[in-house]
């Protein structure tokens, strides 16, 4: 954080909420402090596509009024939250960092926006992302890249790089991102914050602009595990508006954070794909040692299909994306290029509106689903997906949780991987399998690696066992090296 001043406010979300509820701190003051931090450093970081200055102030004033009136303002009272700009906000531009959504203001709020409001939170802005969440560095944005607040020559990771950076830079105590192949966990690791992808279906996707529907999941960024648990409790729980939402109440996480890992069986995958940098591997080894010290048993397990996840993902995700992104045709919303007839209008709109990576994935996905290729590509990828789930299930017969790197490296320099899509795709090697299986996974900062940049350790548990994952994460957080 060399060239960035420390956050204006050094309070955790939980503390802010408690003090706002108690009337000790005004939500208006909190918002103004964070807005001031944004004002001071946003030019260097470029975390936001849009800062909602007026809306946030109005909302904070409403929270303060409610507190004054004695109302229960919720567990996130007065807490600013930054939203990845692929989550719909009523009347407020939602761009997915794409030109093609130019001018579009959704006529509705995403379910998570409703839930945040019900919890008393204040949406402070919409954060930058790789266009339509396709990327691992937040360099694929139509509005310019986001910089890592810890070293602005480096990327914050992606695709939720703006959300990760906003928390790391002290622009908001909390942010939400979406994770399709690692888009929360990898930027969390690179920015040194906590990032959580809960069980698929734990958080409603209604109002999240779809990239790959069977993989997309919303989750939080926070400075610590407790704050992540707090916001995840507020936004999770069944939503009848999302058919894939799990039919159960909100996750219960904040109560388990002190439970420790004594007696827990932690799996170390022996056949994990190679490619992690030595500094990262070293920190992960230390994490296993720390968990063993805390009373856990470390058990070697095999997940043979793990390494095929990346290939399967780069067929399944683009296939779904090719369909999800077909609606951007210039007919009903967003950008429309002028052309003499309908077909030419479609082509011109999509040619001008989408960036190169989005087009690449639409083509990949269209190809993978095409007659004559379906069985060899998409169909086979689905089989690999099932196989990975079976291998994970077999591992869970022996262990309670799996621990591994979140990212193969610390934050890399901007431009390092933009010329070679494959090298960029490899950033997601360790994060993708949990998207394919729907299992909860999170990244917790655990010391630093090369150049003093943070390393994230990833924890994965069986579906619906988000609380167990938080238990492990809280233990790792308590035992994290000082630097």
């Amino acid at each position: 954080m060399s060239d960035i001043a420390p956050p204006t406010l050094d309070l955790r979300a939980a503390t802010i909420a408690v003090r706002v509820r108690a009337g000790e701190l005004s939500a208006a003051q909190v918002v103004d402090d964070y807005l001031a931090a944004i004002d001071a450093h946003e030019t260097d970081v470029h975390a936001f596509n849009l800062v909602l200055t007026d809306e946030a102030r109005a909302r904070a004033a409403a929270v303060d009024d409610a507190v004054a009136a004695g109302d229960d303002v919720g567990p996130l009272a007065g807490v600013p939250v930054a939203l990845k700009d692929n989550m719909c906000t009523r009347g407020v531009p939602t761009t997915c960092s794409s030109k093609i959504l130019e001018g579009w203001r959704p006529p509705y709020d995403a379910t998570i926006v409703d839930r945040l409001r019900d919890a008393g939170a204040v949406v402070i802005g919409k954060t930058n992302l790789d266009e339509f969440a396709m990327g691992s560095s937040t360099e694929n944005s139509a509005f310019g890249r986001t910089n890592n607040p810890l070293d602005v020559t480096r990327v914050p990771g992606g695709s939720s790089g703006g959300s990760a950076a906003s928390v790391a830079a002290g622009f908001a105590p909390l942010a939400l991102g979406s994770d399709t192949g690692g888009s929360i966990r990898q930027p969390a690791a690179l920015c040194g914050v906590v990032g959580v992808k809960p069980t698929y279906g734990a958080v409603s996707r209604l109002g999240l602009v779809a990239f790959a529907s069977s993989l997309d999941q919303i989750g939080p960024f926070a400075h610590d595990v407790a704050d992540a648990a707090l916001v995840l409790e507020a936004i999770s729980g069944h939503d009848p508006g999302d058919s894939t939402s799990i039919d159960q109440g909100p996750l219960e996480l904040t109560t388990v954070l002190e439970h420790g890992v004594d007696g827990m069986r932690i799996g170390r995958i022996t056949d994990l794909p190679e490619g992690a940098d030595p500094d990262v591997v070293e920190r992960v080894d230390q994490a296993f040692a720390a968990l063993a010290d805390a009373g856990a048993t470390i058990i070697d397990v095999s997940v043979p299909a793990f390494g095929y996840g990346l290939t399967a993902y780069y067929l399944i995700a683009p296939a779904e994306a090719s369909s999800n992104l077909a609606r951007y045709d210039g007919v009903r919303f967003g950008m429309r290029a002028e052309a003499p007839d309908t077909n030419a209008m479609y082509i011109a709109t999509r040619t001008e509106g989408f960036g190169a990576e989005v087009k690449r994935r639409i083509m990949l996905g269209t190809y993978a689903l095409s007659a004559g290729y379906y069985d060899a590509y998409y169909g086979r990828a689905l089989k690999v997906r099932r196989r990975i789930a079976q291998d994970f299930a077999a591992a869970y017969a022996q262990v309670d949780a799996l621990v591994m790197p979140a990212s193969p490296s610390v934050a890399f320099r901007a431009g390092d991987k933009t010329a070679d899509p494959m090298s960029m795709y490899l950033c997601d090697t360790y994060t993708i399998p949990a998207n394919l299986t729907g299992e909860p996974a999170m990244s917790v900062p655990f010391g630093t690696g090369a150049d003093g940049l943070p390393v994230g350790v990833q924890i994965i548990t069986p579906a619906l066992h988000d609380a167990r994952m938080f238990q492990v994460a809280a233990e790792l957080e308590r035992r994290a090296p000082a630097s």
């Binding site: 989550m87 719909c88 939602t94 997915c96 959504l101 579009w104 959704p106 006529p107 509705y108 995403a110 996707r205 209604l206 109002g207 999240l208 602009v209 779809a210 790959a212 529907s213 069977s214 009848p240 508006g241 999302d242 058919s243 894939t244 296939a319 779904e320 090719s322 369909s323 077909a326 609606r327 951007y328 045709d329 007919v331 009903r332 919303f333 309908t342 479609y346 269209t366 689903l369 095409s370 007659a371 379906y374 998409y378």
Partner: protein, 496 residues
């Protein structure tokens, strides 16, 4: 039974016309039908927008209908039930089913994919028996959403080619449809027409759809091929745009003849989609197989499996009403006609069979009632305004010979105009009095005496000659005499 009554009912012997199997130049036709039906639901298949016909364009829309970013479909349970109802009525198995995305670009397809059941439809392996006794097998019936409606302005005949611009109404987008796919079991235009008619009657009876072909809530595509009897299936063409039962028959007949003509000169039939033009009575190429879209189907990730449990299936099954075939049997038995007779078909199609049965239950004459209902109640709806008891009373008067058939019709007109009434009071008002048999016999004798030539001809077997004699009696009675009773008397006198 009173002799007059038996005369009254034998007039209706018309049954559906079962033509001989279609054959042309030694070829037979093979036809399978795909019928799209709009389900009767309050809201759309995946959103809460109203499902209504005829509203202002683009008023029944919402983020799901428009395919806005972030919108998600939620399956309408009522639509699933309707699909189950019609599937059960078609003797299908109800099974675990899924939805897929059918991807293609078209301005009236908001998401650029249609959500449709694909390889796992909810209803499979059923059948439908048609009037000629044939059983047409149903391969599947699956749920899908309708598209919006495009109106092309400025081109010839409303076609997109050459139009200046197009208007799109998304009210129809997302309306629940079921596509019912038959096996290629039909061999003539008549069978196809009967299949469509019977299917329509079933859909209406179970309340699954209003099945109005003219409003597009029931649309038929026909797969037609020809072959030498017993040979392998020929190459088929799919005909679109069949929006009446009559068009179905005409288009299939035309298309089969077209294919035979091609084969006869040594050409091969090309697999293609063809458009039926009602005006010129021909089918025209829409697109060939080579131009067909690759729909890139895959499982819809925004929806979950639909797997109705036994309790749900049983409760839907228990709610099914009696089906048209059974209702025709029931009505036919009550009125003493064939189930296939025109009056029985018409009255059941109109849903007026329960009314006729009610007339019978009120001690009326059901056989007379069905004739009245068929003729006088065409516009009356399924529950006619005249109370069944009033019509029962009228038929009793007829049976007792108190009024003639002509008088009965006149009274019925008054009853219909006034939503019922007392037939006896109306008869009295009109001065209809039962004619004494001796009085009528005297009039018949007078007519015979006045026209000996006619009587002689009648006795010689010239039945037409009776007309002059009956006419004379009617004139003498000022129309009060019962023509049928006069005929009976004349016949009796001839054989005496």
């Amino acid at each position: 039974m009173h002799p007059v009554a038996s005369l009254a009912v034998v007039t209706d012997t018309t049954t559906a016309d079962h033509a001989a199997p279609w054959e042309h130049e030694g070829y037979e036709m093979v036809v399978g039908l795909e019928v799209h039906v709009e389900l009767d639901t309050a809201t759309k298949l995946f959103s809460a927008s109203p499902h209504r016909f005829g509203d202002e364009p683009n008023t029944n829309i919402d983020p799901v209908t428009l395919g806005l970013p972030g919108a998600l479909p939620v399956l309408n349970r009522a639509a699933v039930e309707q699909a189950m109802r019609l599937g059960m009525a078609l003797n299908c198995t109800i099974q675990r089913s899924t939805f897929a995305r059918k991807n293609y670009f078209y301005p009236d397809m908001p998401k650029a994919y249609q959500i449709s059941q694909y390889d796992e439809p909810i209803c499979v392996d059923g059948w439908l028996d048609i009037a000629d006794g044939s059983r047409i097998e149903i391969e599947r019936a699956h749920l899908e959403e309708d598209t919006g409606k495009s109106t092309h302005v400025g081109g010839a005949g409303g076609r997109i080619h050459g139009s200046e611009h197009s208007l799109i109404d998304f009210n129809r987008a997302g309306i629940p449809l079921v596509e019912i796919v038959s096996r290629p079991d039909m061999r003539s235009p008549e069978q196809a027409r009967e299949y469509v008619s019977e299917l329509r009657a079933i859909l209406i009876a179970v309340g699954a759809s209003d099945a109005k072909m003219e409003e597009g809530s029931m649309r038929v595509d026909a797969n037609v091929s020809v072959r030498r009897p017993g040979a392998e299936l020929g190459t088929r063409c799919e005909i679109k745009n069949l929006n009446s039962v009559r068009s179905v028959g005409r288009a299939i007949d035309y298309e089969a003849r077209r294919q035979v003509a091609m084969l006869d000169v040594g050409d091969a039939v090309r697999q293609e989609t063809r458009h039926w033009d009602e005006n010129d009575g021909r089918t025209h190429t829409l697109r060939s197989k080579e131009d067909a879209d690759d729909y890139r189907y895959f499982l819809e990730p925004d929806l979950v499996v639909v797997d109705p449990d036994a309790a749900w299936i049983d409760s839907v099954r228990a709610s099914l009403p009696m089906l048209p075939a059974a209702r025709r049997q029931q009505l036919a038995a009550a009125v003493g006609m064939e189930p296939d007779s025109e009056a029985v078909r018409v009255v059941v199609d109109r849903g007026q069979d329960n009314y006729v049965l009610a007339v019978g239950a009120a001690d009326g004459d059901a056989a007379r009632a069905i004739v009245h209902v068929k003729e006088a109640y065409a516009e009356a709806g399924d529950v006619p305004p005249v109370p069944a008891g009033d019509l029962a009373e009228l038929t009793k008067m007829e049976t007792a010979g108190e009024i003639t058939a002509t008088q009965a019709k006149e009274i019925l007109t008054v009853l219909v105009d006034n939503d019922g009434g007392d037939p006896r009071a109306i008869a009295a008002d009109k001065g209809f009095e039962a004619m004494d048999t001796s009085e009528l016999e005297a009039m018949v004798d007078a007519a015979i005496e006045a026209q000996p030539d006619a009587w002689a001809k009648f006795c010689a077997g010239e039945k037409k000659a009776a007309g002059a004699l009956v006419g004379a009696v009617m004139k003498a009675s000022k129309g009060q005499a019962d023509g049928k009773a006069v005929n009976i008397l004349l016949n009796q006198k001839r054989t005496q």
